[in-house]
């Protein structure tokens, strides 16, 4: 498990990256239900990484937030009319961006990793029950974005692995 102190720093830093990528306020949230406001089948994107260590990053958001993210990233008004493939592509790209930064924060700038191609899917929010490792929750202008990190057992996150921002 990642030490709580380190996880808190990562929580804040990833919030900044979400803001830069999506042009939305993304406040780290800790006191809300991770499934709050999620639609029956929220949007998910998953990337695995391997190299100096192994793990997975998932992001999960309801339909309104996924559409808002896509609209903001693409700089288009009227995100309700965005075709589904644009919403999916933007969501996958956000997962890609967050994974890249998460790896830097966890393992430092010297570690080498290979990232999988992002996979998009829609699934029941109760999938969270099987992902108890590390859920980082963000309040994005009233909508919840979850970033879930699962790291392979045995990885150590000691002080030698500096956090670069």
């Amino acid at each position: 498990m990642i030490p709580k102190e380190r996880l808190n720093i990562i929580h804040t830093e990833i919030g900044r990256v979400i803001q830069d990528a999506t042009f939305m306020l993304a406040e780290p949230a800790t006191d809300q239900d991770a499934t709050e406001g999620l639609s029956v089948e929220p949007h998910w994107a998953h990337i695995s990484y391997s190299g100096s260590a192994e793990g997975n990053i998932y992001i999960c958001a309801g339909d309104e937030l996924a559409r808002t993210i896509a609209g903001n990233m693409l700089g288009t008004d009227g995100y309700d009319s965005l075709p589904p493939e644009r919403v999916i592509d933007s969501f996958k790209e956000l997962a890609n961006i967050l994974t890249g930064r998460m790896i830097l924060l966890l393992y430092g700038r010297q570690a080498l990793f290979r990232l999988s191609v992002p996979i998009y899917f829609r699934a029941c929010p109760f999938e969270f029950n099987n992902m108890s490792d590390n859920v980082l929750m963000y309040n994005c202008e009233g909508m919840i974005l979850n970033v879930i990190l699962t790291v392979k057992e045995g990885d150590s996150f000691d002080k030698d692995k500096s956090i670069d921002s």
Binding site: A21, N96, G100, Q110, L112, F113
Partner: protein, 128 residues
């Protein structure tokens, strides 16, 4: 002079964002050529004159590393400027890419000004 710009990224979102930077920066573009991966890019490079390649690293079919290696192995593309825009930020990767003649390496998410300045330098234009 108008430029022919190749953008190699499996994300259409990123390709759109990069194209918008050119428009906002008023860099004259004759044509944007979008490719999903390195293989598509190489096929087009064999047929068309390209002034600048902007590429991601992680892509299916053929990744950005393989594309850059192929470009640099061929005399006709020796002077072709390449910018990397990637989520990956390892120092080792950056050093390796620099030795491969990459002009600039930008990490996503990037600010439009960063990529605008990088494009301007690559095309030999003053930063405006």
């Amino acid at each position: 002079m108008q430029y022919r710009i190749m953008i190699v990224d499996d994300s259409s979102t990123i390709r759109d964002i990069i194209e918008k930077v050119f428009i906002i920066a008023k860099i004259p573009v004759r044509e944007f050529i979008e490719c999903n991966n390195g293989k598509e890019a190489l096929n087009i490079l064999n047929k068309k004159w390209i002034d600048l390649v902007i590429t991601d690293l992680s892509m299916p079919v053929m990744d950005g590393y393989s594309l850059i290696k192929e470009i640099r192995s061929r005399r006709e593309f020796n002077a072709l400027p390449v910018i990397v825009v990637s989520t990956q930020g390892s120092e080792k990767q950056k050093e390796e890419l620099k030795t491969m003649g990459v002009v600039d390496i930008l990490q996503k998410p990037f600010f439009p000004e960063q990529i605008r300045d990088s494009i301007a330098i690559s095309l030999g234009r003053g930063i405006q």
